[in-house]
Structure formats: structure tokens, C-alpha cells
Symmetry: C2
Subunit: 424 residues, 2 copies
Amino acid sequence: MTTLSPPASDTPSFEELAHRCLEDCAALADQSEWHEGILRQYLSLPMKAVHELSQNWMAELGMEARVDDAGNLIGRRASAAASAPIVLTGSHLDTVPGAGKYDGVLGFVMGLALARSLGTAELPFHIDVIGFSEEEGVRFSKPYLGSHAITGTFDLEWLSRRDASGFSMKSVIEGFGLVPQRIPSAAYRPSEVIAFVEPHIEQGVVLSRADLPVGVVEAIAGQTRALVQFVGIAGHAGTTPMYPRQDALVAAASWITEVSRRGCEVTGCRATVGYADVSPNVRNVIPDRVTLSLDLRHIDDGIRKQSVGQLFDIARGIAVRDNVEFVVLEKQEQSGVAMDDVIRKQLFQAASDCDLEALDLISGAGHDAGLMASRFPTAMIFIRQPRGISHHPDEDVEASDIAEGLRVLRQWVLNLAEGINSNG
Amino acid sequence: MTTLSPPASDTPSFEELAHRCLEDCAALADQSEWHEGILRQYLSLPMKAVHELSQNWMAELGMEARVDDAGNLIGRRASAAASAPIVLTGSHLDTVPGAGKYDGVLGFVMGLALARSLGTAELPFHIDVIGFSEEEGVRFSKPYLGSHAITGTFDLEWLSRRDASGFSMKSVIEGFGLVPQRIPSAAYRPSEVIAFVEPHIEQGVVLSRADLPVGVVEAIAGQTRALVQFVGIAGHAGTTPMYPRQDALVAAASWITEVSRRGCEVTGCRATVGYADVSPNVRNVIPDRVTLSLDLRHIDDGIRKQSVGQLFDIARGIAVRDNVEFVVLEKQEQSGVAMDDVIRKQLFQAASDCDLEALDLISGAGHDAGLMASRFPTAMIFIRQPRGISHHPDEDVEASDIAEGLRVLRQWVLNLAEGINSNG
């Protein structure tokens, strides 16, 4: 469809580019707060090292590198016209504790590989590859700090939040050599942005089961995060008769099985109790207090809210049966986010131009793309992960699948350029 | 029946003695590792303070006080003949976290009140009031350290166990100014001991429901303590489909409800999961490992073992259903222990001499008396607790019930003395 594809003679093959992506991911994985396993929190020392490595790579590619005041690393493949519009790509550089090598990082290095694949081709737009500074929310229990800054929705009141060591976000940003008061100027104007496309490992097995390397995300599922508590009465495990016990853990256990049952009954629902705290947690004392998390996701906000409501009703019923109290301590709602239809169609077209079948996918996990979609035409490309494991050292991805993702991404960019040039 | 009863003119009334017991319990409760709620572990600093307070009280009573090398505090009301046999009484001075004021402590201060009630009466035996150093097993996950020393069954290999802070039992004993290698010499010879009678709050509501102040324990229920683990596979809570999850917490929760059900179905059974540890315990990660305690008690050792076996079978069935592993990490069995028939009859006789009806009771909780029974003629007196709550700040006991317990205990001692004197 375009004379620029396949890669020009001055660029490596897609297979070479994909292998370089794997090497880059491995190099960044070495920059960790932990010796065993990966942890890289917002503006940590290893994040500084990741920026330095990445800036060297950007320099090799002739990109202009900068770090905005929220800590996002941005490399620009500049168009000849300084006032050209911008295509955004990339993903986040922070990780959860005990992370794998690819969640977030792969999307960022694929952005660099895209630039590498384009060689010296002149395009009618800048390409900004963003390494978002904070998506997981580990350090300040506040996810998406990087994309909040890029979308102009960063609330300066968050600067007073403190991490587990007691450092304020403000002092952490200043310690990284940045100026927190200037974060609002990190925002991109919607008028200057053509699109944001985030490549990411799938974190599931839909592509693997369909035997396809690449998917295009239709929507990011909405999420309810809650913290609930069952409160009973402690007592001696050997002397308190089974009736009338008020065992908070028995009540909590009944509810955990109901959460799982609900998740299984409602198509497309993901319902998880990942956290449990038992008090006093002594072997011969009946528990008087159990705190549980609920993480419930569904692409349909109505079904999600209805499911959560039903689960709370079930909990209240269990509480009455077991003569304990049930309290909802916290509840945060995050609506489902649809990806941009125009960009999605362009990505499917690009895949088709590459003779690839791409799958329509739902993302169960949240992503910076969810926030970016509120300001910019946004979509995501998922790369197959053989076993669907993420947030875990066993995360894996095949070079050949990365190569296919890069092929689609580059084709989309070239199609965009051709569209602009032929209209312009 | 004897000229020494009621209290001689040089001794306070039973009501005064009972009120003094309540005051003593309150004074000892102030010696705690926590500001809010009571915790007093083996050889902790507050235990040192409890020893000092108690030694002052013993000195007022003309008792000889000593601390043996396992940390038991022993006050002797000496008979004129140094070679006289010994009557043992008392209970433990350590507590669980968040304890009440009376579990253990009441039995010890009732021993002192017994001495106080006897005034200057000359008896043909010593009375040793023991404040056992460690019954609950909180610090080193090893209960009955004090009575193991008294019965000569303290295994010196336990000295290498470590507490939660990493201190070895050996260093903790030395830090208290004691000599761990001398613990074997803390043992009493069975030939020198007439009996051990442990007074204790009931920790149940049998006396309360029967409207009686005092009970005599027939037997201590046997106990199985186990630690089990369900092991699944971690995964992202938002992206891992409900099938095929291998959620260790869902499996563990199913089993907790079965443990409770089993406890309810088998008459006289007490089945409790008091401890749960979830890994990684992160809100958006499917748990891969849950460790649970099981505490199951029954007076019939056969029924107890059968119930535990059935619960493990149920756990294996759940593990197959949920595609996780089930492992039994630890299992400790403690057989039911019958109290000494002769001493029990003497206690019922003493109650009858006081015009009191005493109730035959089973103890669901373990006690130092369970271990002491292996060497010495042993029995227990239970004092009514209005609401049957124990191991909890709401533990309560009425002065009038303590007075009745003291009346029975003193009458038993006087009857014993009269029996020896008339035979001797």
C-alpha cells in the first residue's frame, strides 16, 4: 500500500528489531530496587538508571530526549516542521514488586523500535515515545501519575501523599531533580495530538488460545476496588461452644467463596479477594475481625455495579446468619473505557495490510491508555503472551510476536503519513 | 468437720479474701507489654514486674519465694518439718495477646489467698503456690514450658527455639538471670507431692447456665493443632479468567467453612481456624499460597482424630476441585487427660462440707494441670465466669464466686491435714 514498507535498506529487519526489544527489556530489568526479582517504583534510583540507559538509546536514534516534571521520559523523533502534530506511543517504566520484564517496559522499547524501523523516512508528524513514570501506583497508592500529567489531570494536592518510608511525593519529585509546581505544563494539548497507541503484553491467554500474535483492544474493563470488614467476637478456641460463636473468619470465608462463585457465574466478570488480614490471628483464638479486599472488573459498568451490590447484599446476609457485623470500609469505582473507534479501525487496516489477522480484545487490567483516552484518540496493541502470566517473574513473550506487533505499528504510522500527505 | 474452719480470728473473711484476689489480678494486669490490652509473654519485662509484686505479697505472708530456672515463681508456705510432703497449687502468669485479667492469674492469686486464709495454722505439709512461667505458648510457639520443668519433662533442645524477634529461648532465660542448664533440677519428685490443684476461671458458660459458682474438672479435652497450606498460582486479578484460576484463597475459604460445619455437627467438638496467612496478599493479585491453623478439640480422642482425618480428606477434595495443592505442614496431637479420681472426690467432699453443690466439668482448654497429671495426683477447680468469655479483655468473674472457690480449696486443705494428722 505504501512505498515505505517493508523497512527501507537503512533499517534492520523486524526480527532484528524484535530481538533488540528483548535485549532492551532485559537491560532495563537489571535496574531494580531488589536483588531478587524486579521492583522499580516511581522516581526510584533504578528509575534514574533506566532513564540514562534509554536516553543513550534515544541519542543513537537521533531523538530529542527530555524528562517532564512528573518524571515521564519522552523521546521525540522530530518531523522537519517544528509545528507538526504529534503521534504518541510508549508505556510505563515502573513495576509492581516481583514483576516480570515486559509489563509496561515492552511497550516503551517497542516505541523506540518503531523509531528505529523508520530509519530516516521523513514523516509529517513528530513521534513522541513516552516512558510513563508511574502506572502501577505502588509507591504512593496512586496509579497513573505519569498519564495524569500528560493529560493535564494531575492534582497538585497529591504532592503531599507519603510513601511507606514517609517521604512526600513533593520531596521525591524534587529529589529526582524535577520541579513539582511545573507538572501542569507537562500536559499535551489535544489539538496537537493525532493519537496515542500503547503496545502492551496481553496479560491473558485469549491470543494464545486463538493462535494469533497481535490484538487490538476494544475497551478497558471498569473496576471496583473495595475493602470490607467482618467483625465478630474473639473467644477461646477450646472453650467457646460452636453455638453461639461469632467467628469473623468463618463469615469472611463464606463470602470469599461467594465472590468466586459470582465471578464464575457472570460472563466476562473477574472477581478476586487478593488481600486478607485476620485479627488477632492467633491459633487458639476465634478471629474477631477480618478485613478483605474485593477487586471486581467487567467491561459493562452496569453489570459490574450490580455484581458488587449483590455481593455486598450476600455479605450482609452472611453477617446476619453468623451474628457478626459487615462494614464496607472503602469503595473506589473506575468506569470502563472504550478505545477510539477510528484508531482501532486504522490498526485493523494496518494489520490487514501486513496480511495479519488481529483479534478484538478486552483489557481486564487498567492502563495509562485508559486515562489518555479521556483527551486523545487512543488505542492499544496487545502482544501475545504464551501463558498469559503477568505481574510475575514468569512473564514471557516471543520475538516473532513482537516482530508482528512492530510490523502493524509501523504500517499504521506509514498509513497515517500517507493519508496526511495525500490530503495535504 | 474440723476445728480450723471457718477462718480463724487471725484471718480475713472469704469475701475480703476474694476482693483481695480481684485487686491482685488488676495489679498484675497493669504489667503488660502493650499499653492497650494485656500481653505478657514468657520472661518478658512485665513478667519480671509481676514476679517482684508477687514476691512482696509472699513476703507479707511469711512465704519463702524463689524463681526456678524455667522462670516459675514459687512461694512456699512452709510446714514446721522441712521434710514434710508438698501440696501444690497455682496457675500460669503469662498471657495471650489481648488477654483478660483472670485466665491463669486468678488461680495463682487464689493460691496466695489460700495461704492468707490459713493464718498461722500449723499443717503437716508445705503448700507451694506456683506461678507457672509459660502456659500459652505465645513467645516460642511451645506451650507449658513451666509445667514441663516442674514435671521433669523439659527438653533442653527447646532452648534453641527462637521468638519472633530472633532471640533464642536460651538467651531469653539467661537474660532473665536464670541458668537454662539447671532446668532439669526444677522438677518435683512425685514421691514428695501430695497433689496439685489448679484453680481457674471456667472459660465457658456451663456453671453460669447451671447457676453454680464452682466446678470440679473431670477431664481436659484432647487437642489436635495443625498448620496446613493451600498452594495455587498467582496471577493478575484483572486479566486472569475465572477459569482456569488456581486461587489458593478460594480453596482455603471453602475449607474454613467446612471446619466450622464439622465443629457444629459433632457434639462436643470445637473446631477453629484462628490463623491465616495469605501470599502475596496484594489486592490485585490472585493469592498463590494460604497457610491456615486448625485447632480441633474433643474429650474423646477417637472422635477427635477421626474428625481431623475427615477434614484433611475434605481439604484434599477441595484441592482437586480447585486445582491447587493441599499440604499438612505440622500436626501435633495432645490426648485428653483425666483428672485424679481421689483428688476429685476430696474436692467434692470439701464442697459438700461447705454446703456447696459443685458441678462435674470438662475443660475444653488445655492447662498446666494436663501436664502435671502425668506425674502428680492432679485436679482443677473452675470458678464461674458470667459470660464464659476468655482470652479477651471482657473476661469477668464475681467476688462471691471466688469466695466460694476459696472456701472449697481451704476446706480441702484442712480435710487433707486432718486425714494426715489422724493417720499419723
